[in-house]
Amino acid sequence: MQEAYGLVVNLFRINPSKDMVRVSYIESSDVTSINQYVSILRDAGCIAAPQYGEYLGLASGVYFVCEDLEVLKKLDINYTERSIDSSSYVMKYLVLNALARKVRELGDRGLLYLHEDKVFAYSQVTFCDKEVIMRSEPYKLFELRPCLILRVEHYHVEGRNMLFLLADLKFKRINKLTLTRLIKILEEKGYEWAEIRKILREHYYTCKTEEGRQACLVDDIVRGQDRIVAKVMTREGMKELPTDNVWLNPHPKHTRDFICDKLGELLDELWKEQRKYGNVRPKAKIRMIREYLEKLLVKTGVFPLKISDVEYNLDLRPQKLLLTPGDEE
């Protein structure tokens, strides 16, 4: 046997002010009904979480908290009140729901930067600092922002339920170079329309369609009476999109050279800065995560989070996984 050792990890303890929390509960073990209830309750402005099977003593069904009880009367749902462990498995979803809601509120007030309105997806909450680290010059076509990606994790260790915030930090390069801006800059630089049409076909793009964002190609641009429309080749075939919904993909080297040489935008410093942050080793990275958690979640008032009669506080000390290793396999 080797000696126990520890690994420091980007997990931060979420401490409830009370051991038990009051929640509303709908009994069900049918997956479809559970999902329907969760969706209805969330649409009505409540925070709601599914529990598909019995787990650690908690029955299957829907657990939820609605601030506005009038909503529930209107929905005409049969539910009961329950007191459950404030760190139980299902609470990880309710805490994450409450976190997403508060982040969105702060985003709407301009205190956080919400990129593409994808704040809450795939059990993750993503948002960025309102302050930009760096912008490319002179057109400010790209900007670098620190962004937090958060999940809530539940651990059951030695008979105890615990909740943690799993936090990651990415330095995102936000692309502001839409086809609209690109055409405008090329026109300002004196390029003829025919020449612009030809140039645009030589690059790759990102298109925003009903199916979400995807890589695409520009087949042509057509000048209408009041706006320009892009004909783009997408996964679903040829489409017409407003030029505001098409972004130049700066990844290929020839496109980056084009942005620098033809548009005159200086990208090197921003790319270098992003690479510098991408190369940060975990010890420094976890320190940075902690700093941004403090800045974006604690100082802005996201934490403590209030759910029902319980306050959830964030402990900014990263966890250490103390490992009890067996023999090497």
């Binding site: 690994l7 030695e158 076909r201 995807q214 075939g237 080793r281 995560i289 250490k320 396999e329």
Partner: protein
Amino acid sequence: MNDENAQYILLEARRIRIPMLAFRGEQPALSVYYGLVRFGPYELPVSYPKTILIVYPNKSEFREVAKRVKEALENGYKGYFPEGFASIFDLNVEFDLVAINPNKYTILDPQNTALEYYERFSEVSKTKNNDCFLMALINKVPQSLHESLYTEIKFLSTKNNVPSQIITYEVFSDEGLFKWSIFPLALQIFVKMGGTPFLLYNRLRIPEEETALIIGIGLSRISLGLKEIRYVGFALAFEPNGKWRLIRWSQQPYDRKNLPYMFEKLIRDVIDEVLRKYAVSTKRIHVIIHYSGKNISVAEEVNIKAACEQIKEMKGLEVMPYVVKINDSMYRLYDEANPCPDSSGLNTFLPWVGTTIKLKDDLYMLQTTGCVKVQTSCGAMRSRPNAFGSPSPILVSIKRLSGIQYELRDLDLVKSVLYMCRMNYVSVNNPVSRLPITVKYSRRLAYITSKFAASKNIDINAIVPQKIARTLWFV
């Protein structure tokens, strides 16, 4: 940050040792570079193309790169690829350059550009007295681009029974990237010619007189233009020593109800075909399913078991299915006790590759990136990081189906994932790939599969010619 500030959670952990690889004559080595240079490949292809045609757009910058690649493959490139392809892989091949009309090279029309590549290749290969291998030099394309020159060339060549390798101008025109990419390029060509560069020297612990099959399953939702959406699943089968056996597809109309049946058919067909083709004789076979995607539902579980029951009835042998789900994670960890300095001497404190932490009863964190032991070009051992920045471990969840008496431990199943991460046929410097070969190519295969699915033949399995199907044509 002071460590004393940290709080503790007590968890179980194991460190899985990185398995050695086997090269010619079953000679073991830790590193691919050392093993291939010192011992040679594990197994040569039975028959292989004797000429590699490097096809490029006829512009000076492309021509220069094509010439440089040809020269390096023929004669080697410094210590990065000593002595060249024929010497390392023991195959007698010649290299030739073929130019295409640069006016027919356009990113906007990948189909016709790919056709131009293929037609020029075909013209020249007719003048040769043997089969040829297509190496296409193109510009880098975004990986997420659904219809790209990469996918089109791959589709066209595969359909026509021609092994192919695509290389990009962006990588091979950059000296810093060129030197590290030339040996891996040769390795991929060898694999696509049907050779086996190495296998696992250390094997999974399987009870005596029993055998195991590791199946990687991928699932895609494919849009066929605006007309139709289908589910297409594919399964890759590997032996426990890493030897690749085959790929099978199955497709169904887009309806979740069809998924369980698709799983059943894929698993049954793959096991049946492996048993038939490779005359596996055993009383019990452990089928470890590696899967990266949505959760396996109860209905799919039932069908996986049904597939195993059918094999039992057909072949009279017991099939034990294990479902192993593999996912990315957001965790970042460091180990203060493990300095693991990088090439500039700076401590990284990365955890050891192979570190396995039990998070829950059926959920494990597996470090496939981090600090790893490597073998230098002269055979000495040292440890170094195998990733930049702060790499994340993967999550491995074990799904045990009800009503089955299992024999393999969770740790054996986690080990199957790490072992398959060693089967890295695209790098000679990184000893462990972040994802196992069983699920690594899901996205790439999905794109190529969508081309296959769009063609008239409803059975995708019949589209890939037998000769190509015997090689790992998609790596």
